[in-house]
Symmetry: C2
Subunit: 271 residues, 2 copies
Amino acid sequence: MPHPFDPGWFQEPFRTLAAEYPEADVYPSDQFRLEWGPIFHRGRLDGSARVLVIGQDPAQHEAIVRRILVGEAGRRLQGLLAKLGITRSYVLVNTFLYSVYGSVKARTRRDLRLVAYRNRWLDALLVGTNVEAVITLGTAAAEAWDKWQATPAGQASSLPVSKLPHPTQPESSSKGDRAKLAAATKRMLQQWNAGLAVLAPAVRHPDRVTALVPYGSGFQDGERPPIPEFDFPAGLPSWMYEQDGWARRSGADPLAKRRNITITVPKGVIP
Amino acid sequence: MPHPFDPGWFQEPFRTLAAEYPEADVYPSDQFRLEWGPIFHRGRLDGSARVLVIGQDPAQHEAIVRRILVGEAGRRLQGLLAKLGITRSYVLVNTFLYSVYGSVKARTRRDLRLVAYRNRWLDALLVGTNVEAVITLGTAAAEAWDKWQATPAGQASSLPVSKLPHPTQPESSSKGDRAKLAAATKRMLQQWNAGLAVLAPAVRHPDRVTALVPYGSGFQDGERPPIPEFDFPAGLPSWMYEQDGWARRSGADPLAKRRNITITVPKGVIP
């Protein structure tokens, strides 16, 4: 069975962007896990993307796969895009190249070098391309969009944008309280529905034509589809894109947790 | 600082080879760790390789980096190639796509589908290319070479080959006995010296012209150089190519060890 894969950053300007990226002078190590390296994108770099998504920062699964939004947040986003008929023609970048450790200081977030590098990605993906709509996930991503819009290229752009809550915002905000989680999920999906109403007419060239089915009060079966194999680098095992929760930060104290990632092949994979 | 990287399998025939590979029907799961996926190569796929190396099978570091021979065996090989003046113009493939679990049955090793797929790589890398010499590491790799030589393309080839012991054969054969390890290392390096004497005149276009300095009785400083950054995928942190021993199979029993890989950022990387 063929296993289509993402060939990555072999063409300019992405080849240069993936080789020359900001490091510790721009991303301080007390605010970012520089030790796992930068993680750049997921999706189409060949000009075929119709929707651009800005996420926040990569976590442990992303550090292994070397693509962004491949865990639970990625599956929820995949479901959102599918409601627009977008199953392949998307490209995702993050606000931050490195995983956030603790919180990001305003001065870091606004560092002109950090912003300029991200804007080079956005220029490459948005100026003179086929992108028809933009989604931002969370407040940092919304700010990233605003900073691009303030540039000459951004000012010249009239792309519609939907600024949505981050897909795992309900978990972050409810801290293990099930009732709060249900309420926050419902609230988020209402906002997503409002966003979909704006996005659906803007996406005029979906991968498949589909009637817009809004979310209910929680995620239903099929609304968290697996990440497609063709978004992953070549040769990765299927459980890495079909399943989630297989990478965890392991260790007895914060430094150990920062130093270790344990990957566990899910049950049932080894016969 | 720019971080040159290996763009991977974006060009044919490698793009197809990295998408259509043998799976469990050819590589039985009682003999191979299929659960970590196939790992294809390391080095130049753009036709610039002057030396082709056949190794054996990938281990845990390779499963993370998705390139072969990146651990201790890879560093020793890197030193061997450097003695020939080859610091960049090499390409490495393995006998087996997947990590060996236990031992490989003769029937598996000789499976015509397994051999045919590997020969497609060897054809792509050897027929009408700039390769001037071939190195095999270990007995399985020597057999892989013989099986390619028996094909029409192999019969038509007059490339010189050096069949050398695998770089970590001394460790495998001495099982923790330091005296045996020293003796086995000395013996291996004598065989490597004999191989170098054959290879050096064959490699007519080295990356840098260098007088051949044979090995002594053990590895000296500088004879185990780091794997070059430009062999790795984009964005990997520098400790992954500068250091070794950062990935281990963790778990209390054989199945747990088969299911887990723990990656530990080396000490001193996080400030």
